[in-house]
């Protein structure tokens, strides 16, 4: 089973490309202090808005800070936001979806209505409203993105639970007297993890996009902490003189999100070739 999966996965060029991107991002984030050529927050007023050159490969920003170094440190931020936010969404989604699918009846009806209600809100509106009240900070953003992104995972897990709970191995577990808790977490959940894993990988991509949009609007990661989104804000402010501030961070977001999406779809296709 596992070897089948790996064989299919490594035959899929897109999936391999996606995993290389993701691995590179991890490496860059981990090694940020050693590979960044400059300190990301050292202000150098003699070299303000300098175009890309040998000394500053991606130019400098409005305070003379090295853009490449800020982007390398920014990779850390987007990785952190992506994982924590999606982790929260996954936790909520898995628990609610499992309860909904396993218990059915009024538990299911209540949770599904709650999902319907949450889906009525334009997610971006809900995030902004909460941020307006709680102060923008990296922790608040991760929590809010997570709290507004669990609905899809809930539906997936619920669907898996509904079909899995009728299977013989679940009846067998019940016959030998396993508790609901044990059946849900030990017997059914491991079998539903495949779709959760795929949804989580795609969710990380979404969370990174949302964080960059929020930071771009000035309501996300706050300067001087570098994030790809807030470098783009400087790009917009200097749109007619400093194109490099607009080009490179966006490219980094695009490649990152593309990487996670390819990885997610690759995992999905390799888990079940019939789904293609």
């Amino acid at each position: 089973m596992m070897t089948d999966f790996l064989e299919r996965f490594f035959k899929n060029k897109m999936a391999v490309a996606g995993s290389i991107v993701v691995i590179l991002l991890f490496a860059v984030s981990l090694l940020a202090p050693w590979i960044a050529p400059y300190d990301p927050s050292t202000i150098d007023l003699k070299h303000v808005l300098a175009p890309p050159s040998f000394g500053h490969p991606l130019g400098t920003d409005q305070l003379g800070r090295d853009v490449l170094s800020r982007m390398i440190w920014g990779a850390r931020i987007s990785l952190k936001v992506g994982f924590v936010a999606t982790g929260i969404a996954m936790l909520i989604g898995t628990i609610l979806g499992a309860a909904s699918g396993y218990y059915g009846r009024w538990v299911d009806a209540t949770i599904m209505r709650f999902v319907d209600i949450m889906l009525c809100f334009p997610t971006f509106f809900l995030i902004l409203a909460v941020i307006a009240i709680l102060e923008p900070s990296i922790w608040n953003i991760m929590i809010v993105i997570g709290l507004t992104g669990w609905m899809g995972i809930t539906r997936l897990v619920r669907a898996d639970f509904i079909s899995l709970k009728e299977r013989d191995f679940v009846s067998a577990a019940r016959v030998i007297g396993a508790s609901d808790f044990r059946i849900i977490f030990v017997h059914i959940l491991p079998n539903a993890m495949a779709s959760v894993l795929v949804a989580t990988t795609l969710g990380i991509a979404g969370a990174i996009l949302t964080e960059s949009a929020l930071s771009f609007l000035g309501i996300g990661v706050q300067p001087p902490i570098p994030s790809w989104g807030n470098i783009l804000t400087a790009g917009k402010d200097n749109i007619d003189i400093a194109w490099w501030l607009s080009l490179y961070p966006g490219l980094a977001i695009l490649i990152t999100v593309l990487g996670y999406n390819l990885l997610g779809e690759g995992i999905r296709d390799s888990l079940d070739p019939r789904l293609r």
Partner: protein
């Protein structure tokens, strides 16, 4: 049909109640009370005035009573007064900015339909052709590209380098002095980039969806029957298959409404368009809670309305839905 609409309305009622509860909860996440914000910065506000404000917002009452009186006001669209210096009613502020946001969203939805459906059909009919492969790449990039970044790039290219298109607002400064035709063209020029960009996000999703719908329909027995009867490929695809593949698109359009409305915050802010999204952004920055909560509610209510319209149109288009 009427019975179906009635059933949908009944189904929506708990959702609407849920929406009000979530809005109310978000409002009370604030540490301290909303009145602190109006008063703590102002040394001239006495303790007595604070108390008056508290009574005005009924913050001295228990939560369920606060909720109840808030909902009663909501029912007559009384969303309270803005905290900003003009102290205007929130409903007025939102209503005057709603038309431009709705116009932008309708235009971009039309654009999405016009481009995504032909792309979806063609790539399904010619599966694995070069066209299909190129659009697949486009779809993947389309899903991953941050649209606000694309907006920046297009602004640099068309606005700054080529100076073909204006990059902010919806009217030029000399708008009032232009003859009718030129004024209309001026408005169009201002709308091109925002509409194009807000459509871009939906394009990838809908064309992919249309493609898989079409692929599924083409494999059905009745398509084989149509071919067996000797109908031309054209009639089979565009008459028999297309109609059935188009049906679910109605639902997808309904589902895409919250995304479009949410996206209006980004586009209206980038392009300085005076719509509801920009008002929302400015109110968030200024901590104008009544406006923020008003728009949060209106945004959700618009989504609900859009879904109702989608459900009803689906039932009109497909009799099977009405019966079951």
């Amino acid at each position: 049909m009427l019975q179906y609409i009635f059933k949908r309305l009944i189904f929506m009622l708990p959702l609407l109640i849920g929406i009000t509860i979530i809005c109310f909860t978000v409002m009370h996440l604030a540490p301290g009370s909303p009145t602190d914000l109006q008063t703590q910065m102002n040394p001239r506000v006495s303790a007595e005035a604070k108390e008056r404000l508290r009574t005005m917002y009924e913050l001295d009452k228990p939560l369920h009573q606060q909720y109840w009186s808030w909902v009663k006001k909501l029912a007559v669209l009384d969303l309270g007064k803005s905290f900003s210096s003009d102290h205007r009613p929130v409903a007025d502020k939102i209503l005057e900015r709603l038309p431009i946001t709705i116009l932008l969203n309708i235009l971009s939805m039309l654009l999405i339909l016009l481009i995504a459906i032909p792309i979806g059909i063609l790539s399904a009919v010619h599966q694995d052709s070069p066209f299909d492969k190129i659009t697949s790449v486009f779809v993947f990039v389309g899903f991953a590209i941050p649209t606000f970044w694309l907006a920046l790039l297009l602004m640099i290219f068309f606005g700054v380098n080529l100076s073909w298109l204006p990059i902010s607002g919806i009217r030029s400064l000399n708008y009032e002095y232009l003859p009718a035709g030129a004024a209309f063209w001026d408005l169009i020029k201002h709308l091109i980039l925002p509409v194009l960009l807000s459509a871009f996000g939906g394009l990838a999703g809908l064309s992919r969806y249309m493609r898989s719908n079409m692929l599924e329909v083409i494999r059905q027995d009745y398509i084989m029957t149509a071919r067996a009867k000797g109908l031309s490929e054209r009639v089979v695809i565009y008459k028999h298959a297309l109609r059935n593949a188009l049906l679910p698109v109605i639902t997808i359009l309904g589902l895409s409404i919250p995304g479009l409305i949410g996206g209006s915050v980004i586009f209206e802010t980038i392009f300085a368009i005076p719509g509801m999204g920009q008002l929302f952004y400015m109110s968030v920055m200024a901590r104008d809670y009544p406006v923020v909560m008003g728009i949060l509610f209106i945004g959700a209510a618009l989504t609900l309305l859009g879904n109702l319209i989608a459900d009803v149109s689906y039932a009109v288009a497909d009799p099977r839905i009405r019966v079951s």
